[in-house]
Every structure is written in C-alpha cells, then in structure tokens.
Symmetry: C2
Subunit: 185 residues, 2 copies
Amino acid sequence: MLGAARELVTERGLAALTMRTLASRLDVAPNALYSHVANKTALIDYLLDDVLADVEVPAADIDDPVAGLHQLMASTYTVLLTHPDLVPHYLSCQGAHGPNAHRLGDITTALLRRADVSEPAASEALRVLIVYTIGFAAFTSRLPPGTGTEHQPSAAEMLDNFNHGLGWLLTGIQQGRPAPGQAPA
Amino acid sequence: MLGAARELVTERGLAALTMRTLASRLDVAPNALYSHVANKTALIDYLLDDVLADVEVPAADIDDPVAGLHQLMASTYTVLLTHPDLVPHYLSCQGAHGPNAHRLGDITTALLRRADVSEPAASEALRVLIVYTIGFAAFTSRLPPGTGTEHQPSAAEMLDNFNHGLGWLLTGIQQGRPAPGQAPA
DNA sequence: AATTCGTATTGGACACCGTACAGTAGTGGT
DNA sequence: ACCACTACTGTACGGTGTCCAATACGAATT
C-alpha cells in the first residue's frame, strides 16, 4: 500500500494522492484503506519517512567527518527532490519522526561529535542542518515554468547553491562562535 | 478582504480559511470572492506577501552590515511565526513574490554588498539566508503538544537555536570559502 | 432625467474530497 | 463445527473549491 501510494505521488503528484485514487489503484473500496491507516495524514507521515530510506549514508569510519556531513546532507537533498511535492510537509511536521529519520539523525550526531562539536551545540547544529537541507529542498522543488523577467535558476544551479551554503554552514559550525554581529530583534 | 482573511487565519488557523467562512465573515456569497481573486491559491499568495509588511528593517546606514543582516532575518523569523500556518506555503512557492518580499530581498542584497560579499556569491547567500530563515520558521511553527519522551524544545529555545545557526551561517558567508570537505553526492 | 454598461453579487449546482457506520466474506485457532 | 478477528463492501454525510447563468446596482454617457 505504501508502495502504491509512493508510485502515485511519483507519477501524478501529491494532489493525485487521494484515498479514492489510491483505493482504485489497489482495486479496493476507498474505506478499506482505513483498516491499514488511521487517516490520510498518517499515510503521508509514513510516506515521508519511507522516502528517507533511499538516503545514502557515508561509511562509518570516513576520514573527514565534515566531508561525511556534507555527503549525508547532499544525499538527503537529492533524495528529497525525488518527491518534490512531499518536501513542504517535512517542515510542518518537524521532519518526519519514523525510524529512517531517527537513523539519519543518529548518524549526523555521531559525525558532529567526531568533528569536535560538543553537546549543547551539537543538537542545535543537527537541527540547523536539517532545517537548511529540507528547507532548500522545499525551496527548490517548484521551479519548472521559468518566469522570464528575473533569472530563474536551473536545478543544477540550485544544487551548486545548496552545496555552497552547506559549506558556509559547516564552516560556521566548526568555527563554533557566531559572527561579530548578533542582535536578536 | 485581505484583512478579513488575515484575521481569520490569525484567530482560527489556516484550516478555517475557507471560501465559505471568509465569505460569511464578509456577509457575502462564497462565489462573490471570485470577483476579487482568481482562486484560493492566489488569495494565499497575497496573504503571504502581506504578512511580510510587518518585518522591521534595520536603519539603512547601520554601522555593522552583518549585524543588520542578523536583525533583518531575526525580525523576519519572528514575523513569520506570527502566522505559523502560512509558513510552509512560503517554501513551496519559493518565498512569495509580492512587493514586500521584493523589498526585503533588495535590502538584504544591499547589506550583503556592504559586507563585502561580491556578486556571484551574494545572490547565493541571499537564497541561503531566505531558505534558512523560512525553513527554521516552518520547522518551529508546529510544536505545542510536548511529546514527553524526547526533549521537546520551547519556542524560546528554538529562537536561540535560530540565532546560533544564523550566526554560523553569517560567519561562513563572510569567510567566503566553503569548509575543507565538500563532496557533492 | 433617462439610458446604457460594467462590475459586484447571487442562487444553484457539480464534482470531488475525507471519513464514519453497519454489515459481510474469509481465515485461523480451538 | 464453532468462534473471533481482520479485511473488505455499500452507503451516506458534511464539507470543499469552483463554474454558470441570471440579477442588482452605481457610474458614465446621452
């Protein structure tokens, strides 16, 4: 069922994922789905976590942990872009709480630790990296119809942009101290 | 009409913003709205930009442009949290294209320029800052019912987290060069 | 002042959505 | 053979965004 739902979203977009269309694809009455899933939101939650299974994690004993973080986030970014419609949901649900999300969180934390980011900062850095990656993916996910007047970046340019920003972020995290000017509003 | 829509969202949440409820608040038939707005999505787009009008911009001649950037983003963050339901929409629409969004973009670019961030990097930095700020706001926007088992951060903690991450980002941007390990997937 | 005209509004309807309720097929364990 | 349980079905309710044709109304023109 999750498989069929994922197919549907991939082929026809999130808007096409309706209890009725999903049911008809499974040759089943719409209500039958509620024997397997509490409601549509729960279904989407499962989907969200399911997608993260495709993220490639760096080797556990990678030499440069910062490079590992970069790889991990970059892979997450590209995987998220596989299902653009889903991405906005990640942020409003605070990034999916299923087993896959948990696993990626643990790996990231371990890499941060190996990069000498000590604890109070580490969990903040984790959240910052998640937000940045998912946020950028969400931001990228809708750009097909080039507006014309302004410069509309291509997917490749966005990936470059993502990598640069990620580099800045990792630099700052390693540096450990915020920039000279910090003035909360 | 935009005003009524904003009230509705503020008082009863985005879910309560329906053509029918909005119409009834204006003592008008639902279809009447379509004389002023193409469809509901367009309505939300207008709302999105409207909210940004409340962002406080730093004085144009501020001494430390990096501090100005920090202020500007922090204000944007808090303003966005005023209407948490709307935030996820920003990312899927790539951050609202109305006049207010444009204005904020220009101000940010000017501050970056004054912070000696030259052009190819400047527009990337702009996008990174937008993504980070909106992303963090979206991430923060749903956290009322403390889960209990894990540490559920408060709004104040999230603001701290936001500020730290923003500091890291600005540090990295000023540094200009990405961290040693950059390996696109 | 009378008439025209365009825009705001209305009533009614369509197609679709998520989901609840009650009842039925089929399957495993005793 | 019976029973409990799960997956499923038919039907239906209330809600949604939005379209169509017809109307009210206020400003501009004659």
